[in-house]
Amino acid sequence: MSAAAAPRLKTSAMIASFAEPGQKTAAAPFGHALVKAARENDRIVGLTADLGKYTDMHIFAQAFPERFFQMGMAEQLLVGAAAGLAQTGLVPFASTYSVFAARRAYDFLCLDSAEPNLNVNIVGGLPGLTTGYGPSHQATEDMAIFRGMPNLTIVDPCDSVDIEQAVPQLAASDGPTYLRLLRGNVPTVLDEYGYTFELGKAKVLRGGNDVVFVSSGLMTMRALQAARALAAHNVDVAVVHAPTIKPFDTATVLAELNTDRLAVTLENHSVVGGLFETVASAVVTAGLGKRVVSVALPDEFLDAGALPTLHDRYGLSVQRIVAKVLAELG
């Protein structure tokens, strides 16, 4: 198809799914997982800052109206109140967009929940580049902001499988957590890999002799797709999925990186302060002397537009990943 005949891509809706046409998906996996966990644990409560419908929290609110608290468009209150709820023995899940959680409410999560190590679970929608609305809504540096916070666990799930399995584990873990939410119709990917989510663990999804991908979030889906595409070029790619960014499973990842294979990290996040730097610091600390190639968003404020356009522009598309790997392999 020529460029002239291509349909003009429009700015994706705020809540656009990044699932591809025909891809297997699950609807609102976070909301349903929270309801399921709440049936088994009556201390779980939910709250949001006027974004219930857009973070799949509305599923919980409908199932447990008496355990749901609407805090209004007031993120500092949302996060401060979550700490207060936790101090009474409840297990709050508080949802907003990642930009607001990280940029507006940081001090409240840090001092009110992280310092006393309370079981407060922050659920951030639109992490990284998952909206075409531009820098006001694109949380391209959320992990960079949050990684410096002591006690905070950070989870960057790939798909509906990750989310469904992560939610009860986040509820059961003692300290504060931050979940990078994928909402709406979320792709189901990892069910084909005999995979289970374990908080704090990285998993090898497939082996490969030439290249090793270390990825998190939706970029694990792209890593798996790119691995299949690279097979057609006779490039054999291993994929390691590291959904828990902090605390990081250094042992599993370093064991995979300590080979002659080309090492590539893939993340839906700025190249500053996310998975790449987490891996790089682990490599340097271990004295591996290993080069690591980064697939990540640039250290820039990104454009508004349609997600497929933007993912391709900034190097997150399968096509761009494949091209980058082939170039690296010469």
């Binding site: 805090m71 209150l77 401060g80 109140a81 979550a82 023995g89 310092e115 006393p116």
Partner: protein, 300 residues
């Protein structure tokens, strides 16, 4: 807004007259002030002026309002007192000692290495300290969550949040004020220490917060403004809040006009500063003035 004159007085302890009650709380306030001066001298510095100003508020809460078990600081049924203004910890520790939650002797460790009593109050350090204040504007948001959580769990416990007028600069305070009204948190009482002073100077020159009462009323709170150094007025305000606001699910605020350095004329009349410097030779004089004033009042 209810005025001091309109407040009715109800003795909290059976058989106790209003006068006896005020004297009981007033004597606690006197000891709190003494403790604060002692801690200030040990450290050679500190927010002594604020502690002296807020001593009556702290005494009213800790010796007349809060339900707690001194030997079991984390008793689930306790009322919660949340100190937003972490730098007022010196006064709060004095109140905790007066309430028996920590030993009076421990006050000597204030601000020292490895002490449980750091300069800025932290929940992870001190028994009876519910939150880590200091980053202002946090307390009321946490209080809203606590009030929701305790009500959800069927607890009768009440939440008291201590704020300062400078803290009203923080937007998060007003987010929380809206939230408390929206959720009808009758189990929440805010106490605002209006000493009209903040870090860079007088409140009305830093960022005008007046008309403070109108603001709280507009946010839906049951609002009273009293002389925060008049124990009788403070107690009446608490009684009134319980009768008029808590019963109908309305959060309550008691705006307390206080005087920095209250009880020690040397400090009351000194040029007001957020961080008051007291020379080594002045501590003894401060204590003498405090005692003389209290005993003089008692004799009247």
């Amino acid at each position: 807004m209810a005025t001091t004159q309109e407040l009715h007085e109800v003795g909290r302890m059976p058989g106790e007259t209003a006068t006896d009650r005020a004297e009981r709380v007033g004597s606690a306030a006197y000891r709190i002030r003494h403790h604060a001066l002692t801690m200030g001298e040990v450290q050679g510095q500190g927010y002594v002026g604020q502690a002296l100003g807020a001593a009556d508020m702290l005494a009213a809460v800790y010796t007349d309002q809060l339900r707690f078990r001194a030997d079991q600081p984390d008793w689930e049924g306790r009322d919660r007192f949340l100190l937003s203004t972490g730098h007022y910890a010196i006064g709060h520790y004095a109140a905790l000692a007066e309430a028996g939650l920590i030993a009076v002797e421990e006050l000597d460790t204030y601000g020292s290495d490895d002490s449980r009593l750091p300069m800025s109050g932290m929940s992870t350090y001190t028994p009876g300290m519910e939150i880590s204040g200091g980053s202002l504007g946090h307390g009321l948001a946490i209080a809203v969550g606590m009030a929701l959580g305790l009500r959800h769990r069927g607890s009768e416990a009440r939440i008291y949040n201590f704020l300062s007028d400078g803290e009203l600069d923080e937007g998060s305070t007003w987010e929380a004020a809206m939230g408390a009204h929206h959720h009808r948190l009758g189990n929440l009482t805010a106490m605002v220490d209006i000493n009209a002073l903040q870090a860079d100077g007088k409140t009305d020159t830093v960022l005008r917060t007046e008309p403070v009462a109108d603001k709280w009323e507009a946010f839906g709170w049951y609002t009273q403004r009293v002389d925060g150094n008049d124990v009788g007025a403070l107690l009446a305000a608490f009684d009134n809040a319980a009768a008029q606001a808590a019963a109908v699910g309305r959060p309550s605020v008691i705006l307390c006009d206080t005087k920095v350095g209250r009880g020690v004329p040397l400090l009351e009349n000194r040029e007001k500063a957020h961080f008051m410097r007291i020379e080594d030779h002045e501590w003894r004089l401060c204590r003498q003035q405090l005692s003389a004033g209290y005993e003089g009042k008692a004799a009247r």
